[in-house]
Symmetry: C2
Subunit: 373 residues, 2 copies
């Protein structure tokens, strides 16, 4: 198979946060250069990139110049404006594709895509105005969640609709923009499948991630998730259906709810319900940096470059072992010195100056039980 | 213990080759910025550094500016001019110290330091001119090796002195600079100890490295070295004596010859003879990137920052497992695509444009037997 990139090539990365930073570090390991394009002059990815562009994502002149310096563009967030994606894809490879972006950056398009692939999601309805919201509530009931179709992350752009809440006020709270109303899924646990697909259709999934959120932000991940084997296999199968339908290239994360009994006995009815698709490396895959043969960041670079995928095998895979990743959010990061002193704890800091509340400052990975104690 | 650096601080790195590059990558993982100072505009470390200075190591104005932007300076090579080290250390911390540099950049000073610490080396004599060379040959015999006192690496700056060679011509071949004559040690194998010491006297050694050289360049390393336990322990003890005597901060590599029977039976007489001290991260420690809990690069950053040392434990440490590192020298690197397709092989490329003969282009690490086959 011909490779799309050779060592020494430059990958453009849209977005300069910690995901862009860890992608740039992985590219460097493989002898590739990176050009990071981001709006914020303080973007942490700039510190490890060969080239930097500070410009808005709508700056067509800057985008054209950027595209002229790179062989391929990828991104760390799915809210890349479609005009941006089309300017870039006219000049160079964009992976994952602009078509994938279009699906994954719009909650309605994503839900419709999943429905077309016969994949179960929470019941939902399109909400374009307060009247539509009233009709959706009549159908879906309460509590339910009103979510903007675009630009949501870490709980932003969504509001829980309880009994008695004024619908018009709620709709205005979210900015009056196109939205969807989703039923609340009574899940037993949240999982994600982090997997990669190459342009040649190669596929590799990591062990399923079991995720704990706090205040809508991922707090910790445990791999492998505690699930009956057949449910884990089904989660991977659904992911494969999704990447094939998208003709996907790169690492993807598919968040799912596990509904029903999930205690491993396997005799009760368990269902998987896809919550969200992230067409990129994902926080729940950070454990792979220290806990897998190939990290999700290297895997993404391999996949978009058209290179063979790396082994996704977990380290710490002896009987009774698992891997834990804990996010350091806001002032959690003040524990850095203590974590450095903890034998076997692998600390990652993102180089962000201010530990603002809710800001992801770093993470720590542990193989449990620690192999070195 | 107070830490000398906090996350967000900037570490200056003298030298922009692959060692500087991998140090910069490790610093970034820990939330530190780097400023790489190197002469060559094509230095591979520039691609992953927050700041770059392209200037000669003797440029006092550039050095002063550089020192003003960093909290601490370290280096990837020991031939830092002493004037350079003293300008820098007047402005900020330099680790390892300028005193250590002075010892390790001069083969004579290094040998005398080792002798003072009662550590065995090859017999040697100081050679300042052709007459001294004749006297040294009379004492040490042939074959022996004439080595310049400074600026030698990968076999450069040394010549094997055989029977019949003209001494005056040989001395001129090496540039007529101060040198030493060393006896040839009939070694059974070459090993190195890669270890770290913190400013608080913390110490951590990796498993002993067993090294194979080709054309004076490291070709491969195997960890752990096949040695009787008591010899391995003695190698670590000697390293500890060395770092304590130097009041060392950082990662160090001590190359040693194993003389005598080294087949593990332990009944023959085995001696260790120190060949060279590298006051820095070292090629024979590259396996730690994929084969140890903490890489030598992260360990060096931790040590010079005054942070707790990380666990040096080997991965792939089940019964019968070991780690192998193979250098990709010159056109070896053309095998990159094949290596990418090898399950479990961890490929590192240094981002160098030209695969010149003898040039270190990358390396590959394998845990043997592969845990994923």
């Amino acid at each position: 198979m011909p490779f799309d990139l050779v060592p020494g090539a430059t990958i453009g990365i849209l977005g300069g946060g910690q995901l862009g930073r860890m992608l740039a570090l992985a590219a460097a390991k493989l002898g590739l250069k990176t050009h990071v394009y981001a709006e914020d002059p303080e973007s942490p990815a700039f510190d490890v990139a060969s080239m930097r562009t500070i410009a808005p994502y709508e700056d067509e002149m800057a985008l054209t110049e950027f595209a002229g310096t790179v062989e391929l563009v990828t991104y760390e967030f799915e809210n890349v404006p479609s005009r941006t994606a089309s300017i870039l894809s006219a000049a160079c490879l964009v992976r994952p594709s602009p078509e994938t972006l279009a699906v994954c950056q719009d909650r309605l398009a994503e839900k419709e895509f999943l429905a077309a692939a016969s994949i179960k999601t929470a019941p939902y309805m399109k909400v374009d105005d307060a009247g539509a919201l009233a009709r959706a509530v009549a159908q879906i009931g309460r509590p339910s969640i009103l979510k903007t179709r675009r630009f949501g992350y870490d709980g932003k752009g969504q509001v829980l609709l309880r009994e008695g809440a004024d619908l018009a006020v709620t709709f205005r709270t979210l900015g009056g923009t196109p939205a969807i109303l989703e039923a609340v899924v009574p899940f037993a646990k949240e999982i994600s499948v982090v997997a990669a697909r190459g342009p040649d259709n190669a596929f590799a999934a990591y062990d399923i991630c079991e995720n704990i959120h706090e205040n809508h932000i991922l707090k910790s991940t445990r791999a492998p998730a505690r699930l009956p084997k057949e449910i884990a296999a089904e989660a991977v199968r659904l992911t494969r259906v999704i990447v094939d339908a998208l003709d996907y290239s790169g690492v993807i994360a598919v968040e799912m709810f596990v509904v029903g009994e999930a205690d491993g006995r396997g005799d009760a009815r368990i269902e998987l319900c896809v919550n969200e698709i992230a067409p990129r490396v994902h926080n729940s895959g950070h454990w792979t940096l220290d806990g897998a043969v190939t990290s999700q960041f290297e895997q993404h670079i391999r996949a978009i470059a058209g290179w063979p995928l790396g082994a996704p095998n977990r380290l710490g895979a002896q009987e009774g072992e698992h891997v834990e990743m804990e996010n350091l959010i806001g002032e959690d990061v003040l524990a850095w010195a203590k974590i450095l002193g903890e034998p076997g704890a692998c600390l990652h800091l993102y180089g962000k100056a201010e530990a603002r509340p809710g800001r992801k400052m770093g993470h720590v990975t542990r193989i449990v039980p620690s192999p070195i104690l």
